[in-house]
């Protein structure tokens, strides 16, 4: 690991100012960032620790929406009665991330800012049409994710919370990589309050995307069979040591159909 300076921020404004001044990076749980620093893939001159900012912690209802603070740990989301009541699919997704030690440190804000191509949270945010709230603005899910490890965030912009509108139905099913539990393919299916269907896929491509073919099929018939019947185009999907693009394309329909079945 390269040399680094460390600062504790007390408020979001304080953190943004420190980032602008130092050109550093926010530190949330560190579960992705510390590994990247060890590999010298990340070289932030300064770490601005967000863990002491009280506003970023916690889960609350705002009207119809469930609002989860950026520094809320995966484990806290998995065990939250508020989350289990409002959108149980989110608690289940959180419980499926990595392992308990990772869930005890890793945060939803860190996972979204990181936008790992195989991360679970981006699928939930995109399928539920959630809003990513930052210190500067509110970003619709569709505008937030830009590409592999890329988001719309500016260098000194901090995610403060994510606001999930309550869906009619939602479920997430992933085919986990047996070693890391990252998604080989993960599919989040949601029927939103207005009846529209959104299907977001992670793990299959360089970044999370919507499976529009499956969405169209489910809009006509919200059944597992309808999802499974859709042939997903493998072009543009990832091929790596874990799976070919064709296998991933097949898994997208299979995971989508399981998610529909899990929607009940």
């Amino acid at each position: 690991m390269y040399e680094v300076e460390y600062k504790q921020a007390k408020t979001v404004a304080d953190a943004a100012a420190l980032l602008a001044k130092t050109g550093g990076k926010p530190l949330a749980g560190g579960q992705s960032l510390i590994a990247a620093m060890k590999l010298r893939l990340a070289q932030p001159g300064t770490l601005v620790d967000l863990s002491g900012i009280a506003d970023l912690h916690g889960i609350r209802r705002e009207g119809d929406a469930l609002v989860i603070g950026a520094m809320t740990r995966h484990a806290g989301i998995a065990s939250s009665t508020e989350v289990k009541r409002a959108i149980p699919a989110l608690a289940a997704l959180a419980e499926g991330i990595g392992d308990r030690q990772v869930r005890n440190m890793g945060t939803i804000g860190g996972a979204l800012a990181n936008n790992d191509p195989a991360a679970d949270w981006p699928a939930a945010v995109l399928a539920l049409n959630a809003t990513v709230v930052t210190g500067k603005r509110r970003l619709a899910a569709g505008d937030f994710f830009k590409g592999m490890y890329e988001t719309a965030l500016a260098a000194d912009e901090i995610i403060t919370a994510v606001s999930f509108p309550s869906p009619k139905k939602a479920a997430y099913v992933k085919f986990p990589n047996p070693a890391s539990r990252f998604a080989l393919v993960g599919v989040f299916v949601a029927q939103l309050a207005d009846g529209s269907v959104r299907v977001a896929v992670t793990g299959a491509a360089p970044a999370v995307f919507r499976a529009t073919g499956i969405e169209a099929a489910l809009a006509k018939s919200f059944t597992a069979d309808a999802a499974k019947a859709v042939k997903v185009d493998a072009s543009g999907l990832n091929t790596d040591l874990h799976a070919t693009a064709a296998y991933r394309a097949h898994l997208v329909s299979v995971m989508a159909s399981r998610a529909v079945a899990a929607c009940g």
Binding site: M37, R100, Q101, M105, S180
Partner: protein, 156 residues
């Protein structure tokens, strides 16, 4: 530039001036000499470095010492301050839940968090919740039995 940190480790207040990039596991092992916490992979995969930070199991190779500022840390050494094995440690010994023993401190620390969050966990839950701890020797059967026996002993 060094940074001043203070925390409690196994109930004792400690403070030190550390390089900010110091990993918590290195702080525990090198600065404090608590070598019961092992380093198996150094990449957050194996769980050998598991300790408790404010009562929750974490991988100390993937956390900076500065992130434990003000926290209460418990390591394997903290479980048996008077030399009497903790019921979970005793269960590992009893059930032959270890062979080389390298993974064992992490397994025990992880098991204690598991028992706390999932009292009365069945075998499937125990296996799932130990996902973050790898053992190259035992084949896990006796580890799972040890956790069940340890949990039962702790509930008494």
């Amino acid at each position: 530039m060094g940074i001043q940190i203070a925390m409690t480790v196994n109930g004792k207040a400690v403070d030190a001036d550390v390089d900010p990039r110091t990993l918590l596991v290195d702080f525990l092992r090198i600065n404090l000499g608590l070598t019961g916490t092992h380093v198996g992979c150094d990449t957050a995969q194996c769980g050998a470095c598991t300790v408790h930070l404010n009562g929750r199991a974490i991988k100390a190779c993937n956390v900076l010492a500065v992130q434990a500022q003000g926290a209460a840390i418990v390591t394997i050494e903290g479980l048996s301050p008077d030399g009497v094995l903790h019921p979970m440690q005793a269960a590992f010994k009893d059930c032959h839940g270890l062979q080389c023993g390298f993974c064992t401190p992490g397994m025990v620390m992880s098991a204690l968090d598991l028992v706390e969050r999932h009292p009365g966990a069945d075998e499937a839950t125990i296996r799932e919740q130990l996902e973050g701890n790898l053992c190259r020797c035992t084949g896990y059967q006796n580890i799972v039995r040890a956790v069940q026996q340890g949990a039962a002993a702790m509930a008494k």
